[in-house]
Amino acid sequence: MTLTIIWLTPLIGGVLIAFMPPHWSKLMAAITAIFTLGIAAAVALTFDPSAHSYQFTEEIPWIPQYAIFYRLGVDGISIWLVVLNALLTVIAVLATPVSMRNANRFLGLILAMGSGLAGVFMAIDLVLFYVFWEAMLIPAYFLLWLFGEGERPGRAAVKFVLYTLAGSLLMLVGVIGEYVATGQHTFDLATLATIPPSPAIQFGLFFVFALAFAIKTPLFPFHSWLPDAYLAAPTPMLITFAGVMGKAGAYGFLRIAIPLFPNPVLWWDWRWVIPVLAVAAIIWGALMAIAQRDMKLLVAYSSVSHMGFIVLGIFALNVQGQQGAVLQMVNHGIIVPALFLMVAWIADRAGTRDRSALGGLGARMPVMAGLFIVVVLAALGLPGLNSFVGEFMTLLGAWQRTPVLAVLGAIGLVLAPVYMLRLFQGTMQGEPVIRKPMTDIETGQLALLTPLILLMFVLGLYPNVLTQLMSALGQAGLAR
């Protein structure tokens, strides 16, 4: 029941809160989110690192005549994503200003989105996975449409939804195809992993699944929904939208595409195509970030680059690469919300998001500048902070698969300081451009940021706290 509580609580809470008076809603949403986080943390703490199978499993027949089960379970990979999702939902709720119009609806939708994401990470039945996968789209769409910023948020919402829908409808075909092709009347992921179809069928099925995951991640060249959507998304939404939802795509690769289709070879081998695209994403995302002047877009494209590392690690197809990828999912989930929050706060104070129109803010907001540099350094992969561990391990994994991938991926490491330091120095250093008085970071904002920054240090100094639960990853047959 524990896992059901993790996704059901925010969903029920979200529906109720959407109809509550706005000034109550934030408190109630915070309680709901913190309760969920508590349950998720309890699951992580009681998780048995020595058992190499799904834990906290629940199994209820759902549509038994088609062998569809309501099956939940977590292992050393998904548990951290569930915890991350719960944590970021709390921060997203707390970051929502009470004065926001229709704050109750907004918070309800944020909780509902968190519910769908939690479901994706916990589902171990293919159909259930698909249902959660689609379900998380609905709140995301309404959030973008109703609460989007900029001139045409509706357009960004539609683009996002259509793009992802195109992918997930194909995935639906894949789900059915897998059911038919394996012929064992089961949607159980663990069982399906033991009965892969013939390579030619794997080739086709891998494609449809991988396309859905590639769009969601997003992987080069399927990323063009991302700048629009991130630009339109309000900052509290971005915390979970950018922090967790992208990981659902990467998680899909790791949980579905690789175990179910271990040998997708017909005309070519998909397991080589995806890492090449991942390397392309690393470099392309970095280049696009260099070209951006809008701080929000810069962070959005840096995200494309970082997701490339994650996918590269997954397709290293070895323990270091895949554990590094999971680490990096968590790390990126910590760093990107902090970046988006800080960029939004700085833009609020300065009145513009154009990094080249800013400068010298550090003298007037020293605390903000000090925290901003920590976040920026974490984002560019400074050794000692969390992102380094993940990038090091994904590249080490890639190197073991073939050194070329790691060498090309390492270009991303060199480009990251270029755009990240331009972001920091452009805003905080140099001659002051804007003369109006500005306030430093507020206490509430500091409180939001503190857990994220603490985690950057903790996971950088002691990453084993995450990897020690992932021992299953090497042995459970994922890394074939």
């Binding site: 919402a157 323990v319 380094f388």
Partner: protein, 647 residues
């Protein structure tokens, strides 16, 4: 306390100082910063002394940092004579410099003042981590963290655009080096399945170890090993070159002089930039086997030594002369470790730390007295007005030139002697030749710097008519270093063929014993080198003070331009890397990302919208309705197909 606790204490003292200053420093009275900032460095120095006196050694593992399959990284510190030697230099010279900074930075306001000492303590911590790390991952962590401290300190005056740009340049070039180190660690890990020094070196030096997928007879082992080792050694060398500002990754160091002068003394002269030398010394089991990479170290060092010395001849900014001189002297150290004379290289590292820190700090006193003017042409005649600083500077200068009995003579001539006397090695003889020419140029540019700044009449452009000597907090560290630069070399007088060799003896357990001995020939050559360099030092007087001789540059104007533009490296890098990268980014965004990658999607979307609006009863623009219909349809389709499939 045992070795492990002492080593951890040594490391954590500066970190604690930095945390304290970063958290509360600027809200506390300035005296706290003045005490804590240098205090923690001196405390670390005392701990290092305790390790030194206690003859401590050990490889202490504290906890498992990460474990991922066969990739197990402990947090372990390696205490041996090499790391103790480095810690002595870092905390000893570092303590003097940080103390000096108490006076030098006095003009800063309170927040900046404590910010400065925070960064300095972060640097000391990072540098100690670099030399104490017992595995490649923490080596890289320390390696990158010193780069970060360097970035912070170069850009300390962050309202200056030039400082900000210089800081970013230094950071990015150092990241290139970091990536080299990371890839080098990958090579070693995939070959030897170990990430600690002990694990890797044991397998490299063990003749019975056989890497996986190799057929192992002894001769075959060397044949299968060496390409891997060469690759690893070259990749690590990239890191060493970037950090130590050797060709071709050197362009950040002169710009780094944008930082405050104590920073230049500590990071860009005495400690951080010598990390590359430390790396080659620490990795000597690899370089001893990887002959090509090892030769490359010597060649890079020799070429950089000559290259940088030649540029130093024409620089007019006193700190930039010192910066190029630093590059040149580190070139000597690379040369030394490159030919296998490890302890000679480390001896020069130590004596260079003494005299170059001395020169930078004495120059800092001058700059301080001259209202931040750094152009030597605007000095002149300071000897009478700033006698203490001037004489200290002269001690550093003659040490740099290499005059008996100053420290620089013994260390530099030991390197040149080792290169000259290395048997059956043409390369060593060639790099000796380059080193010899460099020594002469060093005499000349040092003389030029000294005479221009301190001798003759005051320049008419001088910003301060009657300069004042620096306060004693700045003078005492200078005197201490002047004393060390004078007598510090006497602990190892092998360049003269007799006497003690304390440094080599101390380091022999960590880097081995130099396998060959010099003879009387290289002592004679050393004396000749000294005399010629000394004469060139004096010759600069006639060129730049009495102007009895025409400047050499009037005869070779083109060559002078080439030197003044620093062989056009900045221009070439801008044209070859920086601008193409920006252009590619712009082009990619305008001509690929927006029209193609996004364009295809938008066109498809618009086409769908058009066809959908044709079918629809409602107006187009209510596009969201279609999405909802789409979504509902998807669910219905799913259920329908499932029903069909199973019936």
């Amino acid at each position: 306390m045992n070795t492990g606790q002492l080593a951890l204490l040594l490391l954590l003292l500066p970190a604690a100082g930095a945390l304290l200053l970063a958290g509360r420093g600027w809200r506390m009275p300035r005296i706290v910063t003045k005490i804590v900032g240098p205090g923690v460095v001196w405390a670390s120095f005392i701990v290092t002394l305790a390790l030194f006196i206690g003859k401590a050694s050990g490889d202490i593992t504290y906890f498992t940092w990460i474990k991922s399959g066969s990739f197990v990284v402990p947090f372990n510190l390696l205490v041996d004579n090499l790391s103790i030697f480095m810690c002595l230099v870092i905390t000893g010279v570092g303590g003097l410099i940080v103390t000096y900074a108490v006076g030098y930075m006095a003009k800063e306001d309170d927040p900046s003042y404590s910010r400065f000492f925070t960064y300095m303590d972060v640097f000391i911590f990072s540098m100690l981590l670099l030399v104490l790390a017992g595995n490649f991952v923490f080596l890289i962590v320390g390696w990158a963290m010193v780069g970060l401290s360097s970035y912070f300190l170069i850009g300390f005056w962050y309202h200056r655009r030039s400082a900000v740009l210089a800081a970013r340049k230094a950071f990015v070039m150092n990241v290139i080096g970091d990536v080299g180190m990371i890839l080098g660690a990958f090579v070693l890990f995939t070959t030897y399945h170990a990430i600690t020094y002990a694990g890797v070196f044991q397998k490299i030096t063990n003749p019975n170890y056989c890497p996986p997928n190799a057929i192992c007879t002894l001769s075959l082992r060397i044949a299968t090993d060496s390409p891997t080792l060469e690759l690893a050694a070259f990749l690590l060398l990239v890191g060493a070159i970037a950090k130590s500002a050797q060709l071709p990754l050197h362009t950040w160091l002169p710009d780094a002089m944008e930082g405050p002068t104590p920073v230049s003394a500590l990071i860009h002269a005495a400690t951080m930039v010598t990390a590359g030398v430390y790396l080659v010394g620490r990795m000597h089991p690899i370089y001893d086997l990887a002959v090509y990479a090892h030769a490359a170290v010597a060649i890079v060092g020799a070429v950089t030594a000559l290259f940088a010395a030649s540029i130093a001849i024409v620089q007019t900014d006193i700190k930039r002369v010192l910066a190029y001189s630093t590059m040149s002297q580190i070139g000597y150290m690379f040369l030394a470790v490159g030919i296998g004379a490890y302890s000679a290289g480390f001896f020069h590292l130590m004596s260079h730390a003494f005299f170059k820190a001395l020169l930078f700090m004495a120059a800092g006193n001058v700059i301080h007295a001259m209202n931040d003017e750094q152009d030597m042409r605007k000095y002149g005649g300071l000897l009478k007005q700033l006698p203490r600083t001037s004489w200290s500077f002269l001690i550093g200068a003659v040490s740099l030139v290499g005059i008996i009995p100053f420290a620089g003579f013994f260390s530099k001539e030991q390197i040149l002697g080792a290169a000259f006397s290395k048997p059956d090695d043409t390369l060593a003889l060639i790099v000796w030749g380059i080193g010899f020419v460099t020594a002469l140029i060093t005499g000349f540019y040092t003389g030029r710097m000294w005479w221009m700044s301190f001798a003759g009449k005051p320049s008419p452009d001088r910003p301060v008519e009657h300069p004042h000597e620096a306060p004693s907090v700045m003078l005492i560290p200078v005197f201490v270093l002047a004393a060390l630069a004078t007598i510090g070399g006497l602990i190892q007088t092998r360049a003269l063929g007799f006497g003690p060799q304390a440094v080599s003896d101390f380091l022999s357990s960590a880097v081995g014993v130099q396998p060959w001995e010099g003879g009387i020939a290289d002592v004679i050559v050393s004396i000749i080198t000294m005399i010629l360099a000394g004469l060139l030092f004096l010759a600069a007087y006639r060129l730049y003070v009495t102007r009895a001789w025409k400047p050499w540059s009037s005869r070779f104007p083109r060559f002078q331009t080439l030197l003044e533009r620093k062989y056009y490296f900045d221009e070439i890098y801008n044209a070859a890397f920086v601008r193409p990268m920006d252009a590619a980014a712009e082009f990619g965004l305008r001509d690929i990302e927006q029209p193609l990658i996004d364009g295809v999607v938008v066109t498809t979307g618009v086409a769908t919208e058009a066809s959908a609006s044709g079918l629809s009863l409602t107006q187009s623009g209510y596009f969201r309705n279609y999405v909802l219909v789409f979504l509902a349809g998807a669910c219905i389709a799913a259920i329908l197909i499932l029903v069909r499939a199973s019936s």
